[in-house]
Symmetry: C2
DNA sequence: GTCAGTGCAAATACTTTGCATGATA
DNA sequence: TATCATGCAAAGTATTTGCACTGAC
């Protein structure tokens, strides 16, 4: 799915909600789909401030990300390090996350078997599942390699 | 495991960290193991204020819960509704959570198969897993029953 | 007696909100 | 033109911190 098509969906969504398309909303939207990393409110604000274009205040970034989330265009991911980051959704399969406690990198993975087991567990308790979040935390491959080379892997594991 | 034994462990832990046992720490600790529900910082503070005993300030509640978490006596659980609650650990098997989006109740479940699959996925990416968190969200059995009786289950699901 | 802990109030960080102004459909 | 959106600054909310005093060991 390419971006213009996604942007049309955004415009349709806004129309359906009686909201207006503004330069600010467009900038936030486009940035969210241009980047291929997870971003925080602050990072989005910094990006937009640094680039050319109509000003977007922090308040508007908050407000727009809320709209995008409600519309199912982006999703909030809690990193477990006390911050929330967002990722765009359309064109992405559902996935879960692994957060590196050393460098903060977020890797993604999918496992249909796990999903199925989640549904099974919910059913067993009469729980109607509308969503889930699975996050592994630890040390990513790159950091593990570096730390091993330095001989500090075990010490780092201790300190976490 | 009964409480006196756990409390001894807490005292040993404090000693090992060069920390002191104080009436405030004792009150927070005991309350955390007396209750069998998840609690927020604020709730713990309110409980202690309402009951007899040496005053415990909010700052001390924050500080003590941090110590308890570091010592592995309690664990923080993000509810996904923008709050963090704690649960005591010792004497409890590891488990995951289902959070009801209607009443906020947190149910627990365990599934060794899911755990194994998590480890497998981490290994596959060279990720050293030190922890994980799995949270299902949706509507708990009780709420589902009530809503069905009222005929508002579908509407509620829509609105989530 | 020494060092750590406590309460308090101030500070911080993050997010939301009221309101006057400006822009979109 | 009727809403809705924006920016700004103020207000919340949640948590942390500096400091003088108190208490545990």
């Amino acid at each position: 799915m390419n971006e213009p098509v996604i942007e049309e969906r955004f415009e349709e969504f806004l129309k359906g909600e009686n909201l207006k398309m503004t330069p600010q909303r467009r900038r936030v939207f486009e940035k969210a789909f241009d980047v291929h990393e997870h971003f925080s409110v602050e990072r989005m604000y910094e990006w937009l401030k640094a680039e050319e274009g109509p000003d977007v205040s922090r308040a508007t970034v908050y407000r727009t990300l809320e709209v995008l989330e409600r519309g199912g265009f982006i999703e909030a991911v809690e990193t477990g390090r006390g911050e929330v980051v967002y990722e765009h959704i359309l064109g992405h399969e559902h996935h879960d996350h692994m957060v590196c406690r050393v460098c903060g990198t977020i890797a993604e993975f999918q496992d249909e078997e796990i999903e199925a087991l989640q549904r099974k567990n919910a059913e067993k308790l009469g729980f109607i599942m509308t969503g889930h979040m699975l996050r592994l935390s630890g040390i990513c491959g790159d950091c593990a390699k570096k730390l091993r080379a330095e001989g500090t892997l075990d010490a780092t594991l201790e300190s976490l």
